[in-house]
């Protein structure tokens, strides 16, 4: 456990002693304390049909979140690793949770709420999966749903309104385009900041990268350019730490590709190219097409639902260029979908700094408890606790590092070394110094001393503006931490 987690735990323990007589407050605090060592809680948020459940499936590599044409996710649903599958529904009114049957249909998990969505506060899905070991994934309803109550549930979950027991530590914010419409949703970022997530804990995902510019073959390249442009936009600093383009549907399908689907794509690719291009001009043309003859309409529809038109265009092109088996095609599709980049960002930028986000969430929750619930033992305790929270928040260099990373991002010019030293590629000493992970301790020390000298000079450079000098100061402290052997992660 990191020093920060230890300090946070100590404050929570003291608070628990104070609030022992108040069961509701104690439950919140205990939940956060127990979570300090647990997996990072990653929420997927965004507008209606932004592809939150699809991306969740892609990240897990299995179809466990229901997806479809109509609005699918109407209740906040947490997915976590467990030895055996189980679905638990937690009602709003405090009655005991009930278990729902675990049903599979055509390789996908089916969650049948039977019209009880209105009365549920949360769903919990336990699912044996290695991908869920380091993180809990939380699927949320669309924030602009037309159904009364559904949008409210999403907003409540992401803001501080919801009970503090089950908030998220970080957020993947899915958007189709970063225009005002989505920025309006990003207003909850301010509320999220209240619970400690803020821009440092938010990653924006361009989730329909394959549809940008009409779904042409080069759509993903266009999407990457768009994301690069957004990353250089200083206005984004208020909302997120970085922007990643992902073709969610493609990623989900690639990670769960079936042999029959590969066979169908191979058949399709074996017909002359002009004919295939003609067939794939529109979804309707493909559905009504006369070739390949073996393909029935139902199967065509299933293929479209799985790949999307752009995905089929891409998959047939890849097969024609030499993807000879199902595994090869899946790997190439995953690579092109941008999923690997997203996983890398989640791994190095969020999960690796998990203790920072968990501590922030816990301290935020404690702050709200102190603010709203009077201490059962009188006023002196809360003031003292508030001071302790403040001490941890201001004293921990980890928070300063995260804020500096976001500030660095907003400056536009890629300052590769500063980003790395602040832990942008992971908090380990070698990752920070850009050295191979098996580097000799003396080499690491040498690199660190070099960096220290360089960044001290940068911090004192009279030509540097204030923001730059601030970043340099934080970097210097980070390098001092490496030298003192503090960083490890």
């Amino acid at each position: 456990m990191s020093a920060l987690a230890g300090r946070t735990r100590a404050v929570l323990d003291r608070a628990l002693a104070v609030y022992a007589a108040d069961p509701a407050a104690a439950a919140v605090l205990r939940a956060h304390r127990d979570r300090l060592d647990g997996p990072l809680r990653v929420a997927l948020a965004g507008t209606l049909k932004a592809g939150k459940s699809t991306l969740l499936n892609a990240l897990v590599g299995e179809q466990i979140a229901p997806t479809g044409t109509a609005e699918c996710t109407r209740v906040v649903t947490t997915y976590r690793d467990a030895p055996s599958a189980r679905i638990t529904a937690i009602p709003r009114d405090g009655t005991p949770p009930t278990d729902l049957p675990v049903v599979h249909r055509r390789g996908a998990l089916v969650i049948d709420l039977g019209g009880t969505a209105e009365r549920l506060r949360e769903l919990r899905v336990d699912w044996p999966s290695a991908s869920l070991r380091a993180v809990h994934l939380i699927d949320t309803p669309g924030a602009d749903s037309t159904r009364p109550g559904v949008a409210g549930r999403a907003r409540a979950f992401l803001s501080a309104e919801q009970e503090d027991e089950d908030g998220a530590d970080v957020v993947l914010h899915l958007v189709r385009h970063l225009h005002d419409a989505d920025v309006a949703f990003a207003e909850t970022v301010g509320e999220r900041a209240a619970r400690g997530i803020g821009p440092a804990g938010t990653v924006a995902v361009l989730s329909h990268a394959d549809e940008i510019g009409g779904g042409r073959l080069d759509a993903l390249m266009t999407a990457a350019q768009v994301a690069r442009r957004y990353r250089a936009d200083p206005a984004l600093r208020r909302h997120c730490r970085t922007v990643v383009p992902v073709a969610g549907l493609l990623a989900e399908t690639a990670r769960t590709l079936r042999a029959t689907e590969f066979a169908a794509v191979r058949d399709l690719a074996s017909t002359p190219r002009e004919d295939v291009e003609d067939l794939l001009l529109s979804a309707d043309r493909f559905l009504d097409g006369r070739f390949p003859e073996a393909l029935e309409r139902r199967e065509r529809r299933a293929l479209l639902d799985r790949f999307g038109l752009h995905g089929l265009r891409l998959a047939t092109t890849l097969v024609r260029r030499g993807a000879t088996d199902s595994a090869g095609l899946a790997a190439e599709l995953v690579r092109r979908s941008g999923l690997e980049d997203l996983r890398a960002v989640v791994g190095t930028q969020l999960v690796a700094h998990g203790d920072v986000f968990r501590a922030r969430a816990a301290l935020g929750a404690l702050g709200r408890v102190l603010h709203t619930v009077p201490s059962p033992r009188g006023g002196g305790d809360t003031a003292e606790l508030a001071a302790a929270v403040e001490r941890v928040l201001t004293g921990a260099h980890e928070f300063a590092e995260q804020d500096a990373l976001v500030a660095l991002q907003a400056r536009g010019g890629p300052d590769e070394e500063a980003r790395r030293l602040l832990g942008g590629d992971g908090p380990g000493a070698t990752a920070r110094l850009g050295a191979p992970s098996d580097a000799a301790p003396d080499d690491v020390r040498g690199l660190a001393l070099d960096a220290l000298a360089r960044w001290r000079r940068a911090g004192e450079d009279p030509r540097a503006d204030r923001a730059r000098a601030d970043v340099a100061r934080v970097v210097v402290r980070s390098v001092e931490g490496i030298l003192a052997g503090r960083s490890g992660g």
Binding site: T47, D144, S145
Partner: protein
């Protein structure tokens, strides 16, 4: 009717063979109305009434102006510009895979093609590349609108398409810019991506559109990419029915139309064109916007011509009766009496309609002012409440656009309401001239276009947001600590210590910190006060500018109505006088001239009755 437009692409075999433009009854109807108008003008001139001929021609051409404006609205990046291009069948509106349209673009018919940018500093002919720069990148913020004119079939039928910047996000309330355009629109086309159901913001936009515009259609775009678009359409229809909104939903694909167009007149090309759903949408717009517009114009022209010719008819009727001699003396008397009575009645009415108009405009002016004041006051109140809770220095960047949008929406709503009230007033005045029970003549109503010009709104000033700089803070702190050091130091020197001693320094630190805290609090209060002052000042300026604008507009309306109705009253009076003169003149003619004149007047009357019959048909 909900779901009426069901276009099935090639699947079911029932292929639509005709994709050529339907001429339809609208155009022939309008041609006939124009012919009737020309005949009536010629008759008026023959009768020596050039004044009537001129006013007929003027009013008639205004009534015949098609100007069916279709407002294309929707959220960002739903494919509005691409849809306009597809409807027109040419690449006109600049579309970008990521950057959204920022300028409204008006696409209308023109025999000579043009592309112009309109801004505060005038109009300028530009190239397509320059247009793309201005519309998508908004490289020069002074441009307010782009206008494109082309000779293509759909536009030639009298349709004008207006491509708007995105609006209608999850915030719920429709954007002010769209609200401001609603009064001038004959139809609204909401563009929504076929990948998902309608969002809350889009439903709100539809609700506003349905309340003010006769025809509202939802176009689901990119149906080529989404196999489930029919399911999405059914979900949308169910949702709209649930909300009581009568809106049609049509699936279209601009991309397929483009493919079809590039392949030209081949079998695949035609097939793609039909599958794109664009021809079906064009037909829908023809059926719901162009043709009813044409029929309305036709009916209005006929009614106007009938009324004016009805007045003119009195002269030849009286003259003929006088010419035909004493045996028709009674008929003559009756006709003369009728003409005089009509003139008298008009004179009597004229007092009443002038009263109605004057009262109506006075009421309207005060109502509009009150309405605007009320709406702006509510915005100001919310703004002040917000400012009370935050530090203006931190939130001003977000606060400013929010306030501009809220004020814009308040102003646009006032205009919407004012436009409707003006229309209603004009109808009431017109009713004074119509015979009881018949529909009033619409000719005088100044097209009912009462649009908000949001571009004239003043800009919000920036309050003094200087946060305390570090040096300033130090100075303030020093001032406090200096006082502390001095005060305690002086006292302690009495006990034989130096001025700077541990006690005095401690007091200095204490007091310095305190002064700094107080000063910070004061600075925040000052910032809040200053921000409130700026907001109030802005509200005053907006009310001043908009008040002046609406008053000018109302005065214009009043002038138009007064001139029109006063002219009509004059025409009627002059008609009665001429009838008397014609009757007197006819008595003194010798037999030969009388015979020739009788034939002439008969012919005149026959032509007149013929046109009247055509109007009644």
């Amino acid at each position: 009717m909900l779901g009426e437009v069901e276009h099935r692409p090639s699947t079911t075999g029932e292929r639509m063979t005709t994709t050529t433009t339907t001429t339809g009854p609208a155009r022939t109807g309008r041609r006939e109305a124009a012919a009737v108008l020309d005949a009536a003008v010629a008759i008026a001139r023959d009768l020596g009434r050039d004044d009537v001929a001129a006013s007929l021609a003027r009013n008639g051409s205004r009534l015949l102006d098609p100007g069916a404006r279709v407002l294309v609205v929707g959220d960002y990046k739903q494919g509005k510009s691409s849809l306009v291009d597809a409807l027109v069948g040419a690449d006109l509106c600049p579309a970008h895979p990521d950057v959204a349209t920022a300028l409204p673009t008006v696409v209308a018919h023109a025999d000579e093609p043009y592309t112009v940018l309109v801004g505060a500093h005038g109009r300028e002919d530009v190239t397509a590349a320059r247009l793309a720069g201005a519309v998508t990148a908004r490289d020069d913020p002074a441009w307010m609108q782009a206008e494109i004119g082309r000779a293509v079939p759909l536009l030639a039928e009298g349709l004008t398409l207006i491509d708007t910047p995105g609006a209608g996000g999850p915030g719920g309330a429709p954007a002010a810019a769209v609200l401001a355009e609603l009064p001038a629109a004959d139809a609204v086309l909401l563009v929504s991506d076929a990948s998902r159901e309608l969002a809350a913001g889009e439903v709100e936009l539809l609700r506003a559109a349905v309340a003010h515009v006769a025809t509202v259609v939802v176009a689901l775009t990119r149906t080529d990419l989404h196999p489930a678009w029919r399911e999405v359409r059914d979900l949308d229809l169910a949702l709209l029915a649930e909300r009581g909104l009568t809106v049609e939903v049509v699936g279209v694909s601009a991309e397929l139309e483009r493919h079809g167009r590039t392949r030209g007149d081949t079998e695949t090309g035609r097939e793609l064109e039909v599958a794109s759903g664009i021809p079906a949408l064009r037909d829908l717009l023809r059926r719901r916007v162009v043709e009813p517009g044409g029929r309305r114009a036709e009916r209005a022209v006929h009614r106007h011509v009938a009324e004016v010719l009805g007045d003119l008819r009195a002269v030849p009727v009286v003259e003929l009766a006088a010419l035909e001699g004493p045996e028709r003396a009674r008929e003559l008397d009756e006709a003369l009496a009728a003409a005089t009575a009509r003139a008298a009645a008009t004179k009597e009415r004229s007092a009443r309609w002038q009263q109605t108009l004057a009262d109506g405009v006075a009421d309207l002016t005060s109502d509009i002012e009150w309405d605007l004041r009320d709406r702006v006051r509510q915005v100001v109140r919310t703004a002040e409440e917000t400012l009370e809770e935050v530090d203006p220095a931190q939130v001003w960047d977000q606060f400013e656009p929010w306030l501009a949008e809220e004020v814009g929406r308040a102003v646009a709503t006032t205009y919407l309401w004012a436009g409707e009230r003006t229309w209603w007033l004009a109808e009431r005045v017109a009713a004074h001239f119509a015979d009881p029970g018949s529909e009033p003549d619409r000719a005088p109503v100044p097209a009912g276009r009462f649009t908000a010009e949001l571009s004239v709104l003043p800009e919000l000033a920036t309050p003094d947001l200087d946060r305390m700089a570090l040096t300033q803070g130090l100075l303030v702190g020093l001032r406090g600590s200096y006082g502390g050091v001095l005060m305690v130091g002086l006292v302690t020197t009495l006990s034989g210590m130096a001025l700077i001693n541990p006690f005095s320094v401690g007091a200095g630190v204490l007091l310095g910190g305190r002064t700094l805290r107080d000063e910070r609090r004061r600075a925040l209060r000052r910032r809040r006060l200053d921000a409130r002052r700026v907001v109030r000042q802005h509200a005053d300026e907006v009310q001043f500018v908009v008040g002046k604008h609406t008053k000018d507009m109302l005065r214009e309306v009043q002038r138009t109505l007064r001139d029109h109705f006063a002219g009509r009253a004059d025409e009627v009076a002059r008609g009665a006088a001429e009838a008397v003169a014609a009757a007197t003149g006819a008595r003194d003619l010798d037999a030969q001239v009388r015979r020739r004149r009788t034939a002439e007047v008969r012919a005149q009357l026959a032509r007149l009755d013929d046109v009247l019959a055509r109007c009644a048909a």
